[in-house]
């Protein structure tokens, strides 16, 4: 639990209320990290092919798996809008994809409760591939048809980057859980 529920508001002591207000930023950590990943995708790699992994989408997927309550589909929409603004595609392409991706992780969570890391890896790879292929019709809907096949490079590098990204997200979650405020009310 990276932000355990506080005692009821009316029963809080002033000190507890202050600690609770100062710990509210923990709820925003997944969203802020995904926004940071979207900015990280702007790194000027000197590569001729679009090979930058889709970090923002994978960040949304990772946090939807780790903290479903802190990465609802509407937050995926917000991060997608940010990714749209930064990467210069028409507003709404990544917003649709990220919202659908976060929602589909919820569905997978409801159906397959007990799954292992390799299944997650495969599912994320398929989801990145599906998002890449679905981006073509969405761009056509926005009036700017583009070929999506060069982006298969991105799917490949995303597959490679997923374990590292998941490990980083898990490290962040562990750190947050370790430093979470404790409430004395038991």
């Amino acid at each position: 639990m990276i932000a355990p529920p506080p005692p009821p508001a009316l029963l809080m002591t002033p000190d507890e209320r202050r600690r609770w207000l100062l710990s509210l930023w923990r709820y925003a950590v997944p969203a802020l990290l995904c926004a940071l990943l979207a900015a990280l995708m702007l790194a000027p790699l000197p590569l001729p092919v679009p090979a930058m992994p889709n970090l923002a989408l994978m960040g949304v997927l990772a946090w939807a798996m780790l903290q479903p309550g802190l990465m609802p589909p509407w937050l995926g929409f917000v991060i997608g809008v940010l990714a749209d603004l930064l990467s210069g595609v028409p507003l709404g392409v990544n917003a649709t994809l990220f919202a659908v991706a976060a929602g589909s992780i919820r569905l997978v969570d409801a159906v397959l409760v007990d799954r292992d890391h390799r299944f997650d890896w495969l599912a994320v790879g398929l989801m990145v591939l599906a998002c890449t292929l679905a981006a073509g019709p969405l761009m056509a809907l926005a009036g700017r048809p583009v070929p999506v096949l060069p982006l298969l490079w991105q799917v490949l590098t995303s597959l490679i980057a997923w374990p590292l990204l998941l490990r980083a997200c898990v490290a962040v979650q562990r750190h947050l859980a370790r430093t979470a405020p404790r409430w004395s009310h038991g």
Binding site: A39, M41, L42, A43, P44, L45, P46, L47, P48, V49, P50, A51, M52, P53, N54, L55, P72, P73, W74, F77, G80, V81, L82, D84, L85, L86, S87, G88, V89, P90, L91, G92, V93, A95, T96, A99, V100, G103, A135, L138, M139, L141, A142, G143, R144, P145, V146, P147, V148, P150, L151, Q154
Partner: protein, 352 residues
């Protein structure tokens, strides 16, 4: 006697959870529908969110401009080390190249003097190239459907949209959006990019079209029917008014087929510093400024020749704009119709 029948009401916690799940499903559906509506809005008006995009770039690009400095330094160190090891062989190669270049220069000097005389005789007036700002590529969308780069210079430095961006080796692209401290460059490799070019050896004119891959396509080739060769140099022709003529775009690597493949002269993202120059012969901007009277016109209709949205207080347009391929900028502004013509032609749409 105990009552073992199921209670009719679900427990409060379960009800609360089910209601929350229902609300969140409704919200998720609304969000997805809203983003699809955003896409439709972007289809009707491609400029949607340009201001927001500029603000986001203004926040992120200066950070990248600072962050990438140590990586640039490391790359330069690695390059220096490589230079050190290959120095002797490269010096030999350069000496041989210098000999041939000197010979060609002697021949060129005479030709240039003759050309200057002829131009003086014909009183040719040529616009000059002018550098707006020299900067470096701070960020790029290397993992996006749109191939663009970002410069850490914006309207503060005089950068506006539709300016050519040129590196030492050749053309990079043109600016499409400018924020206060950042500008977005549409790279040559993007699908939307069309550059008017000529083949230097044969003089054929055409368009270098991006296809989202490292190579470009030479399309719409006109001129003498001379077969192309691999290695033919492609330079900008100066048509369209944005790019100055004579900037290297690339060389042909695959002349077979109807659309030869071009390899870029300058690698867009490896180029260190780039010049943003003034547009060669800027075409007057006829996009409506201010509140428009009509409903927005979809992109497809604009491409098929529908007139652009009219300003609220503008007079009705004299003629419908002619059909023109949208990505290729027109080589010269069409002459305005004379008053007699204007009177003879009926207005394109009835005035309200």
């Amino acid at each position: 006697m105990l009552d073992w029948s199921q209670s009719q009401r679900r427990p409060t916690a379960i009800r609360r959870e089910q209601n929350l799940a229902l609300v969140s499903a409704v919200v998720s559906g609304a969000v997805v529908a809203g983003s699809l509506i955003l896409l439709l809005v972007a289809r009707v008006n491609p400029e949607t969110g340009a201001g927001l995009r500029a603000v986001a770039a203004d926040v992120v690009v200066p950070v990248w401009d600072v962050v990438r400095a140590p990586f640039d330094g490391a790359a330069r160190l690695a390059g220096d080390a490589g230079d050190y090891f290959g120095a002797v062989s490269r010096a030999d190669a350069l000496a041989a190249e210098l000999d041939t270049a000197n010979a060609r220069l002697r021949a060129t000097r005479t030709a240039m003097r003759e050309l200057a005389q002829l131009k003086r005789l014909l009183a040719v007036r040529e616009p000059s190239r002018q550098v707006v700002v020299t900067t470096r590529i701070a960020a790029a969308t290397a993992g996006s459907l749109v191939r663009s780069a970002m410069l850490a210079a914006g309207t503060r430095d005089g950068v506006t949209r539709d300016l050519p961006v040129i590196a030492a080796d050749g053309l990079i692209g043109r600016t499409i959006e400018a924020g206060e401290r950042s500008a977005r460059v549409l790279l040559l490799t993007d699908v939307q990019s069309r550059v008017p070019v000529i083949v230097e050896r044969t003089g054929q004119a055409g368009l270098a079209a991006g296809q989202g891959l490292p190579t470009l396509l030479l399309i719409d080739r006109v001129g003498a029917d001379v077969p192309l060769l691999a290695g033919d140099r492609i330079v900008t022709s100066g048509d369209g008014g944005v790019f100055p003529p004579g900037i290297p775009v690339g060389v042909i690597i695959d002349p077979r087929g109807a659309q030869p493949l071009i390899r870029l002269a300058a690698s867009p993202l490896g180029a260190g510093y780039v010049n943003v120059e003034r547009a060669w012969l800027p075409i007057p901007d006829d996009a409506p400024k201010g509140p428009v009277f009509d409903a927005p016109v979809p992109v497809e209709a604009r491409r098929r020749g529908a007139p652009p949205p009219r300003l609220r207080d503008a007079p009705p347009p004299p003629v419908a704009t002619p059909v023109m391929p949208a990505p290729a900028p027109s080589p010269a502004p069409s002459p305005a119709p004379s008053p007699a013509q204007r009177a003879a032609q009926p207005p394109a749409r009835p005035s309200p």
